[in-house]
Symmetry: C2
Subunit: 355 residues, 2 copies
């Protein structure tokens, strides 16, 4: 089995190094091969997703990804910017199912913006469709407005779209995930305004007929953004499109106050997957050795579970992370009075020791 | 001067009655005329926005709006559903600038999900473009997928679009509003993915050249959804498109914990405006006499300020609302230990008395 290791930019290299250290310590049989991606790849090869990196990713069983992006690339044309690498990997590998757990660790309740009673014990799973919607819909571009109040004026446009099979496959993923949890799916749409999401809702209802043991609730995206703040624990599995999922999964992560702890997985139909922390490349703290590697280490655990069929090893990592938290070790982002502040490498070492 | 009074559905009639009572008590010279809208209009006339209601709204200087919607209309075809009334009013009257203040009243800090220190003193203004974007963009509908992985499968689609003059006019509104506040505008986009919002960002930068005294910050919508949770007070004026504004303005309202207090205004180029509470029609508590009328009463104050040129009267209402809060009067939604629970009518009476 082969893992493509793509550290990327900013803190990416530092946090991925710790996850690799943890994987190495497990002494399992897999090969790891690294490649440049994002801004780092642009600097070296003139493209954020070079052919060689894409080839490596396609051939691997799983991809361990750090983060991409840095302000210094803001001026590049869009196709050359670091983010295009992650969009390109998603699309080329067909990674349509994005799992974004929002979990509030007992020891970190205090880090949340929310009152402890609202957030303690939070464990929700946002499932975001990742290869469709307005992210990839054609046509898009600039033109003269073809009609309307400002006909003839310069305008820009994009196309939101979902086909039935795309909605069906993500619906199955959500209902099946809910079966292993609390058997409740909230499908988030904007059916009161958008054709795409009326179709989404209709299709969810159809697929739901095959899962009578799972409860299906429908919620408008604006209401979902509110209910996440008001009563996040009322959710179990949330399923939604690419654009709404981008917004809601980030909102949900931030509710926990410890986004530095949250992993993510993006899977295709063959369970090939890309695993990355929910946070970004944080160029402001890159190279300082203070970034929290736990989200990446927990992403490696998800990788073992979903793509490499190593449930036991996944649980060992998760238990080790629990253990270092219980020991009171904290990177700066989750530090609080009475706990011990450690750096990126120390945190990785502690997880290895706790395995 | 003429006010069209459109109470709508659910708690709409109850809360609008209180706002009308407060307006009457001011003894100013304007005419008020009521009409049905939303589900109530559908029941009576077979359409959520009958011609007569639209005519009244167009001829008025301002519209005082309650709320529309009820689950019992969910099965109707989209064009006949209550929400179409509000979309129709926005589009027909060209109400492109939506003002959604998110204010946390001192006495209501405890009602928020957020820790008091994060929310106390919050006073941000979300300005949402309201007549463009994917809400109204054509073409939209269902068809066979013309290309892609599922070519030929049934799909649904919508068009996101913004023309330059549409972005320019909302940019001016935002910069001018910021001048009267803390001189900071955060423009929320998704320029890293969407053509429409790269154009939005470019145009914001262009218009900003005319407002060198105002600071302009750009933020991706997913990050904005996070920063609102993490540090809401870091914002002053937030400006964004119709779809992102729908989500973020609701998220921001809910952060305060007292959405029953938050008014909104939707204006066109002639300062004709529609004024409504930020909350919905709450059919579950309709007819019980317990809904909070303060958001609607404060919407009437905004109406006096923006459309009827009666700043003094607006301030009288706002001061009266502050007074009833200081007196400890609370409807159920904002009630807490030690305060006096009152119903809708009692709350309206108290505001009249406090004028
Ligand atoms: C970098 C960007 C294109 C990306 C997205 O919008 O999907 C990011 O926000 C994410 O959620 O992974
Ligand atoms: C009812 C609905 C169409 C509307 C919208 O999405 O604009 C509502 O959510 C709002 O924000 O006023």
């Amino acid at each position: 089995m082969k893992i493509a290791v793509l550290p990327g930019d900013g803190i990416g290299t530092e946090i991925v190094a710790e996850a690799v250290k943890v994987l190495d310590a497990l002494d399992l049989k897999f090969e790891m091969e690294s490649a440049l991606v994002g801004g780092a790849a642009y600097d070296a090869h003139g493209h954020p997703l070079p052919e060689s990196t894409l080839k490596l990713a396609k051939e691997a069983d799983a991809i361990l990804f750090g983060a991409v992006g840095d302000w210094k690339y803001d001026k590049l044309d869009r196709p050359l910017r670091p983010e295009q690498a992650i969009l390109g990997l998603r699309k080329n590998l067909g990674l349509f199912a994005n799992f974004r757990p929002a979990i509030c660790y007992e020891q970190l309740v205090g880090a949340s913006s929310l009152k402890p009673e609202l957030i303690a014990g939070l464990d929700i799973l946002i499932i975001r469709e990742l290869t469709g919607d307005i992210y990839f819909g054609q046509p898009r571009g600039r033109r003269e407005a073809p009609d309307g109040e400002f006909k003839g004026a310069p305008e820009a446009f994009d196309t939101m779209r979902y086909s039935k099979p795309e909605i069906e496959r993500i619906a199955h993923v959500a209902f099946q995930a809910a079966r292993k949890r609390n058997k409740k799916v909230t499908s988030v749409d904007k059916a009161n305004v958008l054709e795409t999401f009326q179709f989404w809702k209709d299709t969810m209802i159809e697929v739901h007929a095959q899962y009578p043991d799972v409860e299906l609730q429908h919620m408008y995206v604006d209401n979902a953004a509110m209910q996440l703040v008001k009563a996040p624990k009322a959710f179990d599995v949330v399923v939604t499109g690419n654009m709404f999922g981008d917004i809601l999964s980030d909102e949900a992560s931030m509710l926990t106050g410890s986004i530095g702890m949250l992993p993510s997985a993006s899977l295709n139909a063959k369970n090939q997957g890309l695993y990355e922390p929910s946070h970004g490349s944080a160029p402001d703290i890159a190279g300082k050795g203070i970034a929290n590697p736990l989200a990446t280490i927990l992403s490696a655990a998800m990788m073992l579970r979903f793509s490499l069929n190593q449930e036991e090893a996944a649980q060992r990592i998760e238990a080790a992370v629990q253990k270092v938290l219980a020991q009171g070790l904290r990177t700066g982002d989750i530090w609080s009075e009475g706990t011990t502040k450690v750096g990126t490498v120390q945190m990785g070492d502690a997880v290895v020791k706790a395995l």
